[in-house]
Symmetry: C2
Subunit: 339 residues, 2 copies
């Protein structure tokens, strides 16, 4: 095909086709424009040369000239590919990739964004390549609010995967709708006779946690039950002492630990205690216990985030969307003891 020499430019193509660089550019971009006309014959000639040489425009130059790239940046605060982070990002990425492919965009993963000290990643570091992308997707359990503010003030199009509070202005996001999901779980528990419920977990440290706790409280209020909030380190004893019959556990890991502790005390789940998880179901089938809870629509969130970002790029706006969580019946919710 082409020799090993310098890469082809539009200038080269122009020479070969006996036209100007402008014409090549026009043929390449303005397919059937009204303003500028190109004779069909000329167009064909140019296209033929392009085809024969396999010319491909330099994306950097293109970007510099017109400010577009069809590249979406993906920023995360931890490593994307989970060696140890429990496949947290993975389902999101599946959705993101699917959708990016559909709309013909490439994905730029900002893996280099570590702070020098090996601390947390940061978006606007010295060598940041954010501006190479048309827009960005933000992933992470929590996102630095200063980063959000800066993104906002710089007018960089982005969508956060996960709901975010305002940060010097409304933040575009697609999140999981935890509140009605948790509330619905509370409703089910109450319907099965549970009257003393507990939420075990921080309930703070990120919108997703506060949303869960709010959903719990709303559910308790709406369906009439006693609901208490206990810290993550709450023991099984604490629960039993308080007469709790259904526990809503924020962290999945705590959920498993609690079930194990119960087993060791001779309690049977869910006969003696109902346990509901409000956390991650990465692989429902792999797990030994089939907890009652809900599924976070991670993949759909990824897809939707790309769609929303595309929309922002097209016509601006500040989309905010919450996707429903699908309830999972599971096997750890049973009628309250004595019902």
């Amino acid at each position: 095909m082409t020799g090993p020499g310098r890469r082809l430019t539009q200038q080269d193509i122009a020479r070969m086709a006996g036209v100007s660089q402008t014409t090549v550019s026009l043929v390449l971009n303005k397919r059937g424009d009204a303003e500028v006309r190109i004779a069909p014959e000329t167009r064909e000639r140019v296209l033929r040369v392009i085809r024969e040489t396999g010319y491909v425009a330099d994306p950097a130059a293109r970007r510099l000239a017109d400010g577009r790239n069809r590249i979406l940046g993906v920023f995360t605060y931890e490593a994307v590919f989970p060696a140890e982070s429990g496949d947290f990002y993975h389902p999101f990425l599946v959705g993101i990739e699917e959708c990016a492919e559909e709309i013909g965009c490439d994905l730029l993963l900002f893996t280099s964004a570590r702070a020098a000290s090996g601390a947390r990643r940061q978006i606007f570091n010295e060598e940041s390549r954010v501006r190479l992308a048309d827009g960005c997707l933000l992933l992470g359990r929590t996102v630095d609010s200063d980063d959000l503010a800066r993104l906002l003030s710089e007018g960089i199009p982005f969508v956060s995967v996960g709901r975010r509070e305002d940060a010097g202005g409304p933040v575009p996001y697609v999140g999981a709708d935890y509140r009605p999901a948790v509330s619905a779980l509370v409703e089910r528990a109450v319907a099965l006779g549970h009257r003393r419920l507990a939420y075990v977990g921080a309930g703070t440290g990120g919108e997703s946690r506060t949303d869960r706790l709010r959903g719990f409280r709303e559910g308790v209020a709406a369906f009439g039950a006693d609901g208490r909030h206990l810290p993550p380190e709450a023991s099984l004893d604490d629960l039993v002492m308080a007469g709790v019959t259904a526990v809503f556990v924020e962290e999945y890991a705590d959920c498993v630990a609690l079930a194990r502790a119960a087993g060791e005390c001779g309690m049977e789940i869910p006969r003696d205690l109902s346990i509901l998880t409000l956390g991650a179901f990465t692989r429902p089938v792999q797990v030994d216990t089939d907890f009652t809870g809900f599924r976070i629509p991670r993949r759909e969130m990824g897809r939707r985030a790309v769609q929303l970002l595309a929309g922002v790029l097209e016509s601006g706006g500040t989309p905010q969307e919450l996707l429903p969580c699908e309830l999972i019946a599971g096997g750890t919710l049973a009628p309250a003891p004595g019902m």
Copy 2:
């Protein structure tokens, strides 16, 4: 920080610091150069403005001017994030991301490279953004040899993850060293008294398969046994009839199927038949048995590929490297019946 207006350029910084754009650029790049001198005072003044404004250079312009980006392209022939492809790419990506982060590079995933018809991806499509990256990593069970040839002839730095035969020239790669691994498994089997061995699988269609088969044949020759090659669709009966006592199965899925079939016939693994897996994942499957075989060092391959690519970018060359596979004892290899 900065208003919502146009993004900052070096020109802006220059104005604020009362110097020329050139000076800003020099301060930014030539840290302590001998040719061009900048007064410490001036340098400080410029750096201060940069710090205060949070200026970040436009990567596209940078790239256009000096031809570097610190971006590594990642090309795959299927979707990277496996919803159904059995997590094939994932371990590679873990290693790639780790290492890219270490050397301060971002990753550009060419997700948009689908052919129009939804066919196979192709590197050099009309909108290819390969040239935005300094170099590329190629992932995939098989890689189009025309693509390789073009990559080679265009002088685009790249490293293939997986060994590749020459394609109009030697191909830089890091692969798994299947031959000694399979051969070593053969040795173990022979040491346990097995005399009639079989390789079940295509043995063609990609270097990794041919390498496995060659390793098998070499092992059989070296350690003195009867080794035959059967197609993937070979049945359990075929094996039993042939008096085979140890099967080396190329495809992991076939491995599982074979074990199941054996179980249904009342055979006990590995008492009546030893089964060894050679670890080619093409089709997803539920893992349940702990097969004897070896571990393909996928993560290490990813890491190493990035290192090699960095080396190529630095100083050229055509690295070719095979990484050892770690043998897995597993529970499906036992002494031959009657030993």
